[in-house]
Symmetry: C2
Subunit: 333 residues, 2 copies
């Protein structure tokens, strides 16, 4: 029997998942779970790097993110969904790896710099934990000896750091860790319906997987389109239109003809949006059905999380034993 | 019944313990174990911050440090001796605390700066793990809810950082952690017998607790005394003489009269050293007897470490449960 390669992927539980997550990774995960042994980490400890001052939301977010996964079609019989904070070995590996990583590799890492800026941390206010999250990511990936990590091109430097840590560990001690590879997908980046790159509840600029048909209608109707198009007969510029980007991502019926009609001013934004609303609702319909089923049975979700976490713990125990042996700190063996 | 307050103390296992450790802390620990619930951490993970590239010595060092403790009179029935790497909760607490500590608090910490210099790390070469060791120390102290930490005055800033972390945690989440206090002792600092502040095997400038009477004689005879005293009848300057410092620390028979005789050039270095050799050997005699007893029974030492670590693990489990509850990340409770 061919053993399936293992994939590690996941999310920080910081709120409900939206269409950006769906097109960017969830739809891919649903596909990959059939080809690979898929592990999905709910990275609650990593969420704490930026949310340490209000962890009370985490409990709800962990539950909801899991519900989102199940709604999308992640099958707990194929995929191991688990909670980061319940795998102490991830913390242990983080500590061991932290001895192998020079500060300079983190401080001058462009992705950390960008994210620090995004969260408003200057060099002074940044916490020790935030600076180290790529080290903790290396532990997330390696604790279960994942072979592959599906990422967008912008995340490749993080995987490179993980690979560097693994190589350093294997060279220094003994070759026990699997060096993971980035499975770089052409991950579409979806902007908010208002054109803002950041999607958030407070901006009301995105469609959550849990949104009702009414909310979907409302959100799309409020979407900003081509600002140069004032009258419906003005020629449109799809390349600057958010709705066009959403059509391409979610509407299989959206055609070359519709695009040409927009450019020629033959179709207005209102009927165009109508086709998008229909398409998104059609897409979300099966998700809503699955969500309804699971929502009625909270205990099942808890059991899925508990069982997934248990399986992850078993893998973690195997890996930490290998790591301790390699480092020769398994004194009582 | 009055519950004893808990004390946390310990060492990095980086080699055998010497007379500097004895007078600086070990003798004090033997006393304190009767008044307090004493926990002694063998900080092997912290040893890795500087020794990550040769961990193969750790196994031997952990064993020998424990043997040194027992030789000194640490009583495993009174004191819990345990191994840091076997308490995963310390790693977990380190990760949680790391979100509460701004980088600047670590980078501009004078003790870290001094130690980094000592190990030859510049700002670039310093590892993430090394920079964070005071955070990991906070976890060492708090995982067992220690009330007191015996330290020298120069270590007070580290305890201050632990107190800061504990206050921040208790304020942010819920007051579950005990804020430890420094038990500042007038800890004598002993220099090497060659006058070098650093004692090391390669310099051959210190007396290990495990040294034989012959080695003690050899080491003291090679000790540098007052360099201005060329002939035995020259007046001596005890204040610059290493042997004098050792006499004061270890020779209860060393008298005002002997000191005056030295100053007057009435006693030479050779007979003075002879009295020190006798005193040190007298001091070490009971340690040698206990060492001999334990050495003959390696399994007992392993059992002491296993039992101590087990007790520490129980305390760790209690604390991490409190911490998870306080942070509201104990999802399945």
């Amino acid at each position: 029997m061919m053993v399936k390669k293992r994939i590690l992927t996941g999310d920080r539980p910081t709120g409900p998942l939206h269409l950006g997550h769906y097109v960017g990774s969830l739809v891919n995960r649903v596909k990959l779970q059939h080809e690979y042994d898929e592990f999905i980490i709910i990275a609650d400890v990593q969420a704490l790097t930026t949310n340490f001052d209000h962890p009370e939301k985490l409990s709800e977010d962990v539950y909801n993110v899991c519900l989102d996964y199940l709604a999308c079609g992640i099958d707990p019989n194929l995929t191991t969904i688990f909670i980061q904070s319940h795998i102490p070995e991830i913390a242990e590996l983080t500590i061991y790896y932290s001895m192998l990583v020079p500060i300079s590799l983190l401080r001058y890492n462009p992705t950390i710099k960008t994210e620090a800026k995004q969260y408003g941390y200057d060099a002074k206010g940044m916490t020790y934990g935030f600076l180290g999250y790529p080290v903790s990511q290396a532990a997330d990936i390696t604790f279960c000896q994942a072979h592959l990590v599906p990422v967008g091109a912008d995340q490749v430097p993080h995987i490179e750091l993980t690979r560097k840590i693994v190589r350093r560990f294997n060279e220094l001690y003994r070759s026990v860790l699997i060096e993971p590879e980035a499975l770089v997908g052409d991950i579409p980046r979806l902007a908010g319906l208002d054109g803002n790159a950041k999607m958030s509840k407070s901006l009301g600029n995105c469609i959550y997987l849990s949104d009702s048909p009414e909310i979907v209608t409302k959100r799309v109707n409020m979407a900003v389109t081509d600002p140069a198009r004032i009258h419906s007969k003005d020629p449109g510029h799809p390349e600057v239109c958010n709705v066009f980007a959403y059509q391409k991502a979610f509407n299989p019926k959206f055609s070359q003809e519709l695009e040409e009609n927009c450019r020629a001013g033959k179709i207005g934004c209102v009927p165009c949006k109508k086709t998008l609303i229909a398409a998104v609702n059609e897409l979300l319909e099966p998700l809503r059905a699955r969500r309804k089923k699971y929502e009625a049975d909270k205990d099942t979700i808890n059991q899925i999380l508990i069982q997934g976490t248990k399986r992850a713990q078993e893998e973690a125990k195997k890996t930490i034993a290998l790591v301790r042996d390699a480092m020769k700190i398994n004194y009582f063996k």
